[in-house]
Amino acid sequence: MESITKQFGDVRVLDDVSLDVARGEIVVVIGASGSGKTTLLRCLIGLIEVDAGLIEVDGEPVIDKRPGRTGPAAKVAAEIRRKKLGMVFQSFNLFPHMTALENVIEAPVHVRGIPKRTALAEAEGLLRSVGLFDRKDYYPSHLSGGQQQRVAIARALAMKPELILFDEVTSALDPELTGEVLNVMVDLAKKGQAMIVVTHEMGFARKVADRVVFIDGGRILEQGRPEQVLESPQHRRTQQFLSRVLHLASQRGLIEESDPPATAATADDSGLGQPPL
């Protein structure tokens, strides 16, 4: 993935944001609610049209709205995105009328067009890798939030994307369920799966991110190695944001330096004034 630039129209939800993600890289995007993190992901995957800028995936443009340029046809762009990008949502968005297994094989069979038997074998493997093989025939309504989110991750993986976008995937979960989802993501990271993770889980960021990006007011204010951004932020806004997160967590007496994921989970749970979506 290379050279992703984009701008957003009148209301600058994203203001001249540029972001490159290397193959296998794990980028964690942090920032306050309404800073444009989710919008960034939705633009990348094509759920929202951008107003200006260039988005390239693996060197191929999917959107080119620089002055005087015309991007590829919508079909071409959709095809590239389908092959290379995946996304997991805050609210899981599983298909409620299908079992876990059916959710996972849906797109491989009907979009990738692989034989059902192959898809089933792959899907069972994926569900096993997220620890839900024994729940494969359950409907989403019979699964916990954490389990649903793990199925959603398996569903995204079934399309074999090179880059997966995670949009606050633990924000809708109870703190005790956050860990099981984060563990799956850590496993993926270890396998070299490239991802852009929008999250408030500072512990996750510290542990697995290759790079942490801080977004504020639709702009990337700061980015760098996690220890650099999280521990010695250069920008005032970053410092404010991080101290607020840590303050909220410590206020509840839940902060433990030795156990970052739990810390982060509670920091997230404690609010930051983050409504879902």
Binding site: R81, M87, N93, P96, A156
Partner: protein
């Protein structure tokens, strides 16, 4: 009721039942047509193309505003007028299917609204095309939500087939008319007909309800289950 009465009823009962043999398939076919049309009409509401939305809207409003009986006459006589002579049953099926689809479309639209919009996002990021999202993701969920209401529409359709007697179709009501016309025992003939409609109508409602229950054991959680609970109560 004397034995002679019973013997007489037994005499024409087979003819009435042959009318049933027409009424049931006509109801089923008309309802199938109605369901397909209603689904398409409901979908036009979400089209990106304005003309499509407009046509859908106009169709739904007109279909809902006109009486079934007028539609039956229109299809039968007007088409004959312009040289298209449709058999009474075919004209009737078209008329009733088209007429009832208008209001069923509105019901389906409500069902579509009840499906969380994030389902579209989920389908899109998996690379599904619009029609795939419609037919594999959205409509199957709509079906589960609207089934109880659809059952009501099916019964309306079943009853409405009696209107086809006006164009001399040999469905149950048409047959009853014929018999009563010749034996003048109106109350008796229509009484028996009443019982036949009542039995078939009730049995089919119960049967569909049973089927629906089995189908929705793992019913989808839509909008926090509120819609579903509501429909469960109706059922």
């Amino acid at each position: 009721m004397t034995e002679a009465d019973l013997a007489r009823i037994a005499g024409y009962l087979p003819r009435l039942l042959s009318g049933v043999e027409v009424t049931i398939p006509v109801s089923l076919i008309a309802m199938a047509l109605c369901t397909v049309l209603a689904t398409l009409a409901a979908m036009t509401h979400y089209s990106a193309a304005r003309p499509v939305r407009t046509v859908g809207r106009i169709y739904i409003e007109i279909a809902r505003a006109t009486p079934d009986i007028v539609q039956v006459y229109i299809w039968y006589y007007m088409l004959a007028e312009v040289g298209i002579k449709l058999p009474a049953l075919v004209a009737g099926i078209l008329a009733l299917g088209v007429a009832h689809a208008g209001s069923l479309a509105e019901v389906l639209r409500g069902g579509i609204e009840a499906v969380d919009r994030t389902q579209w996002d989920a389908g899109r990021v998996l690379g599904m095309r619009n029609w795939q999202i419609w037919f594999r993701i959205v409509l199957p969920q709509v079906a589960r939500v609207v089934l109880p209401v659809w059952t009501g529409y099916f019964v309306s359709m079943f009853k409405a087939t009696s209107l086809l007697s006006i164009v001399a179709a040999s469905e149950l009501m048409g047959v009853a008319d014929e018999i009563a016309f010749f034996n003048f025992r109106y109350l008796e003939v229509y009484g028996v007909t009443f019982v036949i409609y009542a039995v078939i109508g009730t049995v089919s409602v119960v049967a569909i309800r049973r089927l629906a229950q089995r189908w929705s054991v793992d019913s989808p959680r839509i909008r926090g289950g509120a819609v579903l609970e509501a429909t469960a109560r109706v059922a």
